[in-house]
Amino acid sequence: MKAIKIAHMYPERMSIYGDFGNVLALSQRMNWRGIKNETVMVEVGQKLPKDIDLIFIGGGQDKGQVVVAKDLKSKSSQIKEFVESGGPLLSVCGGYQLLGEYFISNDYGQIEGIGLFNVISKATDTRMIGNIVVQSEKFGQLVGFENHSGATEFIGRAQPLGTVKKGFGNNPNDKLEGVIYKNALGTYLHGSFLPKNPKVADWLIRQAIKHSGQSFKIKELNDELENSARKFAAKRP
């Protein structure tokens, strides 16, 4: 068995918000199944390894985003090729914004994204804060906590991650949350996102296995605690 390699991008600048929980969920859910895995941290100025099977990028402050956006540009084609070839990717909040076309921030003007997703984001005066519940066709009920003033909109064709049942999602208007393009996801859900939404975690793991050229099935885990936590979270104000 070949080890599954996760790239955790920019943990120093883009992990303000429980983002380690996402990487931890991926790695533990593989450990519990006996699937070998390793996590590589990729910081600004460092190379993104060629043999990665899964990419994660979290959220950061606007200031950090400026520096990260520049670095992302240099990795743009590699990330796009990875996604086009079916590689799984999860981006949360600030990371999601930087994978779109651009993000217009309040203090730092327009920050260019890499245009992986057909979305644009703009800073607004409303801070979209609170518990959020989303219904997704692919993954069922998703819960998390959102905290962003950037509003994201689709340009051209794009598929949302789900419909907002409680909270804001991409923006205050269209009740859509996140984006899916091939096996790449963008979302505003913190919480951390993956531990309470294990269906998404397992889906990412399955795609990563496939991308690594392996074809084994993964076994079901006991997700009683995960499901209880999700049910409780969905009821909180």
């Binding site: 429980g18 609170g130 905290n147 951390s192 936590a229 909180r236």
Partner: protein
Amino acid sequence: MRSLLAIMAAKAALRANRVTGSGGTALPGMLAQKLDKDILAKLVKNNFPGGIIVVTGTNGKTTTTKLIANILEEAGITYVHNKAGSNMERGLISTMAESTNLSGKVEAEVALFEVDEAFMPRVCRAIEPDTIVVTNLFRDQLDRYGELDKIARSFRNLFEELPSTKLVLNSDDPLVASLGYDLENERKAIYFGVGDYNGPKIINDHTADSIFDPFTQQKLHYTEKYFGHIGRYRGKRGGFTRPKPDFQANNVKQKGIESIKFAVNNSTKVVKLDMPGLFNVYNSIAAYAVAKVSLDLEENNIIYALNESSAAFGRSEVLNYLNREVLILLIKNPTGLNQVIQTYLLKEKDRLLVFVINDNFADGRDISWLWDAAFEDLKGYMGKVIVGGTRAYDMALRLKYSGLKGVSVEPDESKLMELIEKNSTKRSKVFILPTYTAMLSIRSKIVSGDEKAKEFWQ
């Protein structure tokens, strides 16, 4: 006339609070503010011959304020101060209304306030403090405060607006230290810091928020990292570097979970705190700096007061519950939680551990931060763990992913207390780690439980 009405209204509301036992401190302040929007300025500004001291920052506000209060007490200086949890504008007004007579006069020399970071600009513009202390800045309840950089910028603007205020800043926190860098008119901030620390450290530390030069965004080089982004650092090629502290704690030595000691600068006199943890060294050295530069007190008197101090309400407080020794350790963000793990839990591997995580407004609705705390450092812990609170299942999930086994979940608080009793014996040590609102209710249950026990034995 208007302010007289405002004071009277607030006083009446405070009395009503006491009668009904509701104990809220925001309402009287709100009433007074409705009647006179400038009431805080009128009650505080220029009203204290000994000075107005404000303490802010993410962690350590309450303890630092309490230490300064103890120093004032020992020095025989009269003062007014707000209680923990009343650190927003209205809480301050309530505090003032309580200690002011109807002509708006206060019989105290010094005003000492801990102030919530988000309310700093408004409060300080109104009261124009003589001294502002910033303990540290870490990610904390981002749902309430927003991003760290924004808080820092609001502080910096405020400091320039108050040119004669003394700034007492943490030299070991790059973001806080940078707030005193290159101020207008060659004004200098006063810095406090720690020179060395050889105690236990967190391995899985994900709480470093400000490890970059705040001006160039280049990564800082740390020669020592104590916790999070707190340590001794320098920038690349003449970039932003840790300012030399005016007050530095040296020879820091931790003794078990009981106490920690240090000396200030080159002094031969030892400060021996009756509470553990490096974070309390920071709180103490900050209080020491204030006592020196703002109160002009003698070293001997300051050290005596610090040595006599005990922990603040709900912050590493030791209580007795049904003959069990219970330590209540308030947790509210990953840095604070890591400090608790670093100080108390690394060596205490076989005690009962209780986490109570609420997500009420005062706790912060968001509990994402649990995932950034270093529960992985508890690896090897053999004791029992109980989790409670409105987010008991989230906490249990966090521990599951950290690899900790033997965790019981009980969201119901009364049943939780029973479970604590069942899983401990007389004379055993129980560590309770609650969020703010959980701390208030658990503490009152423990105190009343203890009284029942006493009554029973009498």
